[in-house]
């Protein structure tokens, strides 16, 4: 085992740190889940792109710099450490791009990826529907073949589409073979949200931001070149655990290390010089949260070493999702406990913790509820019987 970064990785870290220190906005940007905030975040994303930091692990021809997985981790640690803005492009970069890399045609890659990296085209995800949440195979929105026009006509409704009210395009699954059973007969489409027949209705989230949208599709035309993978093969395309070689299926440890560090700062700022500084119960909980953030970091390093050796992500990803999502809730709960009655406030600089708590509560729900993830761990990692 060698737990040190190489000189060139350290140099890369220094470079990232310096650039971020010089460029991260001094004042936090307005929430990226509002129209004005989204625009402000896109400006930031474009600066990031211009400096070569938008998608460090992508190949240069698509806007990246071909960074290794270790360099990607270093970048992420520095990014969160610097308190840099939330990435409003992340659903494209983390969820769509890996699939485009694996299943896209050369034309699709060239058309989609550079614009995504440059944040000139933004993407949201169209998976869930009113009757297809945890049970994604329950999708009812459909695509009807239009041979004459060389494409498909989409009908139906997508829901819980994060930042759908602000994005340009949506990737989503639609049922194209109504006679096929559940997981079969779905196709992966790339939809222009400005196209005729699309109606986007913003939906307010817990924290008051319009971070969700419902997307209604009524006879929306999508050309064949905007089908990703083969028609009726959308489930396999969407579910393939792809992109791990670019870190894109990993949830960056930097995020939780930075939150733990901010929590410790909060503790000192509120408790130092008071008797709370010696409150063992509080200290124990903060310490454990920090240990857990460290555990997450080292578990990631362990996994990345395997990925570098050529392994692919498997059901272990469910353990990772369980851990970070529940850690994130604990970190924010602790902060609110530190804040006491101030936790009720939604203005002032400390309110970011209250907002962060509400955001953290979505972690155990989205991308497969934690109940489903525990089933996956039990069935696929431990081998317990499904029935």
């Amino acid at each position: 085992m060698d737990l040190s970064f190489t000189a060139s990785e350290e140099a890369f870290r220094a470079e990232c740190r310096a650039w971020l220190a010089a460029n991260v906005p001094a004042e936090p940007l307005p929430s990226g889940d509002t129209a004005a905030g989204f625009a402000a975040h896109l400006e930031w994303e474009r600066r990031l792109f211009d400096a070569g930091y938008a998608v460090v692990s992508w190949p240069p021809e698509y806007g990246g710099r071909g960074a290794s997985l270790w360099e990607w981790l270093v970048f992420e640690e520095e990014y969160y450490r610097a308190g840099a803005p939330q990435r409003v492009t992340q659903n494209g970069i983390f969820l769509l791009a890996p699939t485009v890399f694996e299943f896209g045609t050369d034309e699709q890659r060239a058309r989609i990826l550079p614009a995504m990296a440059a944040a000139t085209e933004t993407w949201c995800q169209g998976w869930s529907e009113p009757n297809a949440g945890s049970d994604l195979a329950g999708i009812q929105s459909r695509g009807v073949r239009d041979d004459a026009a060389g494409g498909w006509r989409l009908f139906g409704q997508k829901t819980w589409t994060t930042r759908g009210a602000f994005c340009d395009r949506m990737f989503g699954l639609f049922r194209t073979d109504p006679s096929a059973e559940r997981h079969r007969g779905l196709t992966y489409f790339l939809v222009d949200l400005r196209a005729p027949g699309v109606t986007v209705r913003p939906v307010e989230r817990l924290d008051g931001d319009a971070g969700f949208a419902e997307v209604f599709l009524d006879d929306v035309f999508v050309a064949d070149r905007d089908v990703l993978g083969a028609p009726n093969d959308g489930w396999s395309v969407a579910m393939a655990t792809t992109g791990s070689e670019r870190g894109l299926t990993l949830r960056s440890p930097g995020r939780f290390l930075a939150t733990a560090a901010r929590l410790i700062e909060l503790f000192h700022s509120l408790a130092d010089g008071t008797e709370r500084a010696h409150d063992d119960a509080l200290r124990d909980r903060i310490t454990q949260a920090w240990i857990d953030a460290e555990a997450y970091r080292w578990q990631t390093f362990w996994t990345v070493t395997r990925l570098v050796d050529g392994a692919r992500s498997g059901p272990e990803a469910s353990l990772v999702k369980l851990f970070w999502s529940e850690l994130d809730v604990r970190l924010h709960e602790l902060a609110l406990d530190l804040l006491g009655p101030h936790a009720e406030l939604v203005d002032g600089e400390l309110a970011s913790w209250t907002k962060g708590y509400q955001f953290a509560l979505s972690g155990p729900i989205y991308a497969g509820t934690n109940e489903i993830q525990r089933n996956v761990v039990a069935e696929r990692l431990l081998g317990l019987p499904r029935k």
Binding site: S134, G138, W160, L206, G340, E344, T369
Partner: protein
């Protein structure tokens, strides 16, 4: 030993439940968020029914009731998430003024004026803008101010109906209305009232979630048929079952001025805080994304629960108070 409400107490509670079921649907709570005063407009009805003046003497228009009568009613108001300074006025200010033989107790009981109260460690008061009296306490005693005699600096709160203000009372115009013991009783009464409301909120969140998971289907079966969902909800129900008796017992302890009442109240507030926090987590998790939108009603109850679990003393504050009494 008889640890149960009387038929009369239950009948009063049921009447209030009927009223609130009719008059305080979630839409009304939602409206409170945008109403200028952040309130549900139920004060006249609560006065009329005798809820506000319950603890006031009959001679002042009250019902000469006790905290035991009141706790069942406050639980109902929690269930319906009414947005009114009812704990502050009915559970705290009225008995305070009653004990101080202050004639304004009748104005409060008749609904002519409304009071809000800050406990000894509170920095904020709630709904002060629409109250006439602001009561503030510290370790030396309790003082009462006309609303216009204090500095109020509004602070937006996570529960949009709760209009919080930072309270400045350097002002010396307040009247002394109670001594240090009265100040301690203010805290106990506020914590008891809040705990009772949390019980109602907890039950409401459980009920809403049960209804949702019975109805919502995924994988061809009701979501509520999954054992993980069942166990989440059973845990919330368990916490409620072992919170309620301690809150009721605390009500008796205040009503009888039991020398251990502060520890009893704190034990009740701890359990009610924890039950409500768990129920909120479970409710959101079992609802999934729909519970995460403000279009759905759950958030109204969840945010109230978050707020009240920290109001009038959070879990650590109250647990430590019990700890000092028993260790």
């Amino acid at each position: 030993m008889r640890f149960a409400f009387t038929d009369e107490q239950l009948a009063f509670r049921d009447a209030l439940r009927d009223l609130l079921t009719q008059e305080c649907p979630p839409a009304r709570v939602r409206d409170a968020w945008t109403n200028p005063d952040g309130r549900t407009g139920l004060w006249p009805a609560l006065v009329e029914m005798g809820v506000v003046g319950l603890l006031a003497p009959a001679s002042a228009g009250g019902l000469d009731g006790t905290e035991v009568d009141l706790v069942a009613l406050l639980e109902e108001t929690g269930r319906h998430a009414i947005a009114e300074p009812l704990v502050e006025t009915a559970a705290v200010a009225i008995p305070l003024l009653r004990d101080a033989h202050d004639p304004r107790v009748a104005d409060l009981a008749h609904g002519r004026i409304v009071a809000t109260v800050a406990g000894r460690t509170d920095e904020f008061v709630v709904w002060a803008d629409s109250c006439d009296l602001v009561i503030a306490s510290d370790d030396s005693g309790v003082r009462m101010f006309a609303r216009d005699a204090v500095t109020l600096e509004p602070r937006p709160a996570i529960d949009g109906a709760r209009r919080l203000s930072w309270l400045g009372t350097d002002d010396t115009t307040g009247e002394a209305i109670g001594d240090a013991d009265a100040a301690a009783l203010v805290d106990d009464r506020g914590a008891l009232g809040t705990a009772a409301q949390l019980l109602g909120l907890t039950e409401r969140m459980i009920d809403m979630t049960v209804a949702y998971v019975r109805d919502r289907h995924q994988f061809g079966v009701p979501v509520g048929s999954f054992q993980a969902v069942k166990h989440h909800l059973a845990n919330a129900r368990l916490a409620l079952e072992f919170a309620r008796p301690l809150v009721y017992r605390a009500a008796v302890s205040i009503a009888t001025l039991d020398p251990h009442r502060s520890a009893h109240v704190s034990a009740g507030k701890v359990q009610a805080n924890e039950a409500a926090a768990l129920a909120a987590r479970v409710a959101l998790q079992c609802h999934g994304a729909i519970g995460y939108t403000t279009e759905y009603d759950l958030h109204l109850f969840m945010k109230r629960a978050w707020a009240l679990a920290r109001a009038w003393g959070d879990t650590t504050t109250h647990r430590r108070r019990v700890g000092r009494a028993i260790l």
